[in-house]
């Protein structure tokens, strides 16, 4: 098998250049590539376009990169919960492209799967449809949407092996598997790097063919946005 292990996040992201297009996995703060984000804060790379379902919160996730003004543009489905984001947006310092969540997921999948365009009903009749081709199939109207690809995809998994095979945990899976397929270079950070051959081939979520670099991350905070519990 091909060995894709790199030392750490710093080594993994060191060649990400200014103005790169990135994809970052995660839904809210769940399943985000915490180590890669920390490393990008250190490299100070600027002008990034970040394709990510959300934009983090003020002091965590992509929010940290917004504070340091490293992000030029966000491509997301929902960007609430972030005051600095709102400030930059209203001040015209940040571009935002809002995309329906299912369309975002499918455009990323299409990017990885070599499908340049597809039709979806989401957004038909709304401002999302502006400038897009509309076509009717079986009496229903659909919009044509195009694929999304990235220079680098940064994904976070639970377990991974040296061949880049990944297993996610719980709902931390979310956008990570599709994004892993759509990066020219895909960097996977995992909570645990396990020996080759210990992941069951039948239970791998992301085949290693999509992953170019993998490392074991450190000190995961896994911040919870809404801690809701049932009292005993």
């Amino acid at each position: 098998m091909i060995n894709k292990v790199v030392k750490d996040a710093d080594e993994a992201v060191k060649d990400i250049p200014d103005n790169a297009i990135l994809m970052l996995g995660g839904f809210g703060l769940c399943g985000i590539p915490e180590n890669c984000i920390s490393a990008l804060l250190k490299t100070g790379v600027k002008g990034l376009t970040c394709i990510s379902n959300n934009a983090g919160v003020d002091d965590f996730g992509i929010g940290l990169m917004l504070k340091t003004r490293q992000v030029k543009k966000m491509i997301s489905s929902y960007v609430g919960e972030n005051a600095e984001f709102e400030r930059q947006l209203l001040a015209g310092e940040l571009e935002v492209d809002l995309i329906p969540q299912g369309t975002l997921a499918e455009r990323v999948r299409a990017g990885g799967a070599g499908i340049p365009a597809f039709f979806t009903p989401a957004g038909y009749g709304t401002e999302v449809a502006e400038g897009k081709e509309v076509r009717e199939f079986d009496g229903k109207k659909y919009l044509m949407e195009s694929w999304l690809q990235a220079d680098f995809a940064l994904v976070k998994a639970w377990k991974g092996d040296s061949a880049g095979n990944l297993v996610f945990k719980g709902t931390a899976r979310n956008f990570n598997p599709m994004m892993a397929t759509a990066g020219k270079i895909t960097i996977a950070e995992v909570e645990e790097l396990v020996p080759l051959g210990t992941l069951d081939p039948n239970e791998i979520h992301t085949p290693g063919i999509y992953v170019q670099r993998i490392f074991e991350g450190k000190n995961y905070e896994k911040r919870i946005e809404q801690r809701t519990v049932t009292n005993r």
């Binding site: 839904f27 809210g28 703060l29 769940c30 399943g31 379902n53 997301s76 489905s77 929902y78 960007v79 609430g80 709102e86 947006l89 209203l90 935002v96 809002l98 329906p100 969540q101 299912g102 369309t103 975002l104 997921a105 499918e106 990323v108 999948r109 979806t120 009903p121 989401a122 957004g123 038909y124 009749g125 709304t126 401002e127 999302v128 639970w158 996610f168 945990k169 719980g170 709902t171 931390a172 899976r173 979310n174 956008f175 990570n176 598997p177 599709m178 979520h205 896994k222 911040r223 919870i224 946005e225 809404q226 801690r227 809701t228 519990v229 049932t230 009292n231 005993r232």
Partner: protein, 219 residues
């Protein structure tokens, strides 16, 4: 007039056994609490979970297990985890039987507006546009009027819309209504203590009142 819990309870009565259901954030999420135990349904969370369980006990909280509202949740026997593309494949492919979501405005032809208010910071549509464009059966949970008393059941939406001709039924604090294929809000039930006249006054769009309108039964 119903409170939020009343709206949730009334919507719960619409649920049938064997359905897969997607619940939006807010009142729709509350609906889960009032579905009778003898009705087997499965709740879908668009961030990648089928079979949403109750909030976890404190010691079972897992940051890697949340619902689409980013609340920590639990799983049930038979639950399934999947990625976001698969999740919206389920939604777009018509596999989800019922979608319940909130709205800022609904028009008499079934258009819904719930994602954007001009002049306010736009946070995004999340999965709402996919849900409303895909679901066969959409119930909206909403207040009949704004805080200033303006009707939110309109001839046509004034806010940017989320989807067109998609809402099938509406449960508000004042009434249950469905939307006729040819357009128009058909009044089905009144909330306790609310008259047909009250509802007429609170509905800007075309209201259709046929025969006696019963009062809702809510436990």
């Amino acid at each position: 007039m119903l409170d939020k819990i009343g709206i949730a309870k009334r919507i719960a009565q619409e649920v049938r056994g064997g359905w897969y259901i997607n619940l939006g954030i807010g009142i729709p999420t509350l609906v889960a609490n009032y579905i009778p135990d003898n009705i087997d349904v499965v709740l879908q969370s668009e961030n990648g979970l089928l079979g949403i369980g109750p909030f976890p006990y404190d010691e079972d909280v897992d940051a890697d297990l949340i619902n689409a509202g980013k609340q920590t949740v639990s799983m049930m026997p038979g639950s399934v985890l999947f990625n976001s593309a698969e999740s919206f494949a389920m939604i777009r492919g018509g596999h989800v039987d019922l979608t319940i979501l909130g709205a800022m405005e609904v028009s008499e032809n079934g258009d819904i507006a719930n994602w954007k208010i001009p002049g306010k910071m736009v946070k995004g549509m999340g999965g709402a546009m996919d849900l409303v464009a895909s679901a066969e059966n959409i119930i909206v949970a909403m207040q009949h009027c704004s805080k200033s008393g303006a009707s939110k059941l309109l001839k046509s939406c004034s806010l940017p819309i989320t989807g067109i001709k998609c809402v099938k039924k509406i449960v508000t604090d004042m009434a249950v209504l469905d939307i006729l294929p040819e357009g128009g809000f058909r009044l089905l039930e009144r909330a306790p203590g609310v008259s047909v006249e009250d509802i007429k006054a609170a509905t800007e769009g075309k209201l259709i009142v046929e025969g006696d309108i019963p009062e809702m039964t809510i436990n």
